[in-house]
């Protein structure tokens, strides 16, 4: 298997979408393009039960082939890095299962192998997870209710880049906020960069208004990925295509 680039969208929100296309549908679209959609739903400190508004969180991640998690803001840092890493392993295991199907035929997956063989394959998956390149578009919900959560989100993202930059593989992050300024659905905060340390200075301010255009935000993220690989294929036309996993 060639060394490839994993692509993820990381959606951080605290409520449900209310504008534009169905986010689950756009997430499914992302999945078709080989992009996993992870969703983190932040709970308010006084929320003891799973709020119905956050049911969408699970649906989007399911449709996007990613991982979802509801979490109180105190645990956000650990959760963000865990979800990102688990989603990487999940995607890589998906590739491995596809290969296994080719070799062993029909419906064979890792779970059908005996524990010893599974151990050997897991080592390969881990190697890939450590060395592959990773690109993440972070989508941050900046609607009014996120007010007291944004500082924690910022910390969690800096922490995420600390975790991922300890890997051997390269990382690139890009951050968008939704809704954007002046009635735009989405707005770029931070272009592709390997580190998020500088993010503190330019972190998104709250946008007023009650709209949460989650679907359009995911769509924009997909576009960013495709635009990026197009540009790259122009620049590196003779080199090996990194996007192909």
């Amino acid at each position: 298997m060639k060394k490839g680039t994993l692509k993820q969208i990381l959606l951080i929100t605290d409520g449900c979408s209310n504008k534009g296309e169905d986010p689950s549908a756009t997430a499914a679209l992302a999945r078709e393009q080989g992009i996993a959609v992870n969703v983190i739903g932040i709970l308010d400190d006084d929320q003891t039960e799973e709020p119905t508004g956050l049911k969408e969180v699970e649906d989007i991640a399911m449709a996007g082939g990613g991982i979802s998690q509801l979490v109180y803001k105190q645990l956000l840092s650990q959760t963000v890095q865990m979800v990102t890493k688990q989603a990487m392993t999940q995607t890589l295991q998906g590739f491995v299962n596809l290969e296994l199907k080719e070799i062993l035929g029909s419906e064979q997956t890792m779970e059908d192998l005996d524990p010893e063989k599974r151990g050997e394959i897991m080592e390969v998956v881990e190697d890939m997870g450590e060395t592959c390149d990773l690109e993440v578009v972070v989508l941050i919900d900046t609607s009014a209710s996120m007010r007291d959560k944004l500082p924690t989100v910022k910390e969690a993202l800096i922490d995420l880049s600390l975790s991922l930059n300890a890997r051997i593989g390269r990382n690139r992050f890009s951050i968008y906020q939704f809704p954007g300024k002046r009635n735009k659905d989405i707005e770029k905060v931070y272009g592709w960069s390997p580190k998020l340390d500088e993010v503190s200075t330019i972190f998104p301010k709250l946008t007023s208004g009650g709209i949460t255009p989650t679907g359009p935000a995911i769509k924009e993220a997909i576009y960013q990925f495709s635009k990026k690989s197009l540009l790259r294929s122009f620049r590196e036309n003779d080199e090996q295509d990194m996007e192909e996993a």
Partner: protein, 305 residues
């Protein structure tokens, strides 16, 4: 706490239940639950008259990863680094769902902080030396423990020895730390990276001894270096080791062996210092005895183990 919306829960094994492996057909009778963490639940069980610890999880890949680590560190001849691996298998529930589990040596012991509180600070030095020996061996094998924390340490009896019980965070040197706990993680304190290096473990090591006296931990505030140093300075029983612990916090040790030298030196120096002031400070006499006791305990633990 976290709500897991996307996953099936870990299976619950009631006491008395028999768990039979799909592949190796071994049967384990569940005695009781020992604990549960981010990855899976551990049960005390009995098989062929022997006690063992069984870890089961809904995350099959994590179980497989842990088994790989246990296998790798089992190769350390003569060193009990972590529990022995006894069996790896799958359990199929009545619903047809499959869960991975592994069975390891059951380490019967009490938490390190409880032990120190009951049996005295004299044991601090002993446990430091024991832990540093184990870490040195592990690092020599090319691994870093990663999630080194109070919860992952138990003190077993006869001989009294500190043991590791969970290798879930154990990572090959040079890679990204697999699993960590914020309080013990130098990344959280902005005092280093999350790359697996011996110095990563030594930072956690220092935090373990700090947490003996801060069982509820504390969160970061201001300049971490100054903040942690102040916390260390405030704990009297740690005074003899302060120099080394601070050095570990700053990541100044390249190896556990290097730190062990400093700690042993500290133990002997504390002994000499107290000898000089014998007549002035009666308590000092006691600590001379305690320090020599510490060294004797440590030496016997090496030979008996």
């Amino acid at each position: 706490m976290m709500n897991k919306t996307w996953k099936r829960p870990n299976p619950y094994f009631a006491p008395g239940m028999q768990v039979k492996g799909k592949w190796h057909k071994n049967i384990y009778t569940v005695k009781r639950k020992l604990g549960s963490g981010a990855i899976g639940t551990v049960y005390l069980c009995e098989s062929a008259g022997d006690y063992a610890a069984l870890k089961v999880s809904d995350k099959g890949s994590s179980i497989t990863t842990e088994v790989n680590v246990l296998k790798a560190i089992d190769q350390a001849q003569g060193n009990k680094l972590g529990p022995y691996l006894l069996d790896v298998d799958d359990w199929v529930a009545q619903t047809g769902e499959q869960f991975s589990f592994y069975v390891m040596e059951y380490i019967n012991g009490e938490p390190l902080s409880d032990f120190v509180r009951q049996h005295g600070h004299v044991w601090l030095g002993v446990f430091m030396l024991q832990l540093l020996d184990d870490l040195e061996n592990l690092h020599q094998l090319g691994w870093v423990f990663g999630d080194l924390k109070m919860d992952n340490l138990l003190v077993s009896k006869s001989p009294t020895r500190v043991r590791w019980v969970d290798v879930g965070g154990t990572t090959r040197i040079g890679r990204a730390i697999k699993e960590y706990t914020e309080f013990y993680d130098r990344g959280y304190w902005e005092l280093g990276s999350r790359r697996a290096e011996p110095s990563y473990d030594l930072f956690s090591f220092a935090m373990i001894f700090l947490s003996v006296y801060h069982p509820n931990h504390f969160v970061k505030r201001g300049n971490s270096r100054q903040f942690l140093f102040r916390k260390l300075d405030a704990i009297k029983p740690l005074q003899p080791y302060n120099y080394s612990l601070k050095k570990a916090i700053l990541g100044k040790y390249q190896s556990s062996a290097e730190m062990k030298q400093d700690i042993s030196k500290a133990i002997f120096q504390a002994k000499r210092k107290t000898q000089n002031h014998k007549e002035k400070v009666p308590i000092a006499i006691e600590s001379v005895g305690l320090m020599s006791l510490a060294i004797i305990y440590y030496l016997t633990s090496i030979y008996l183990f």
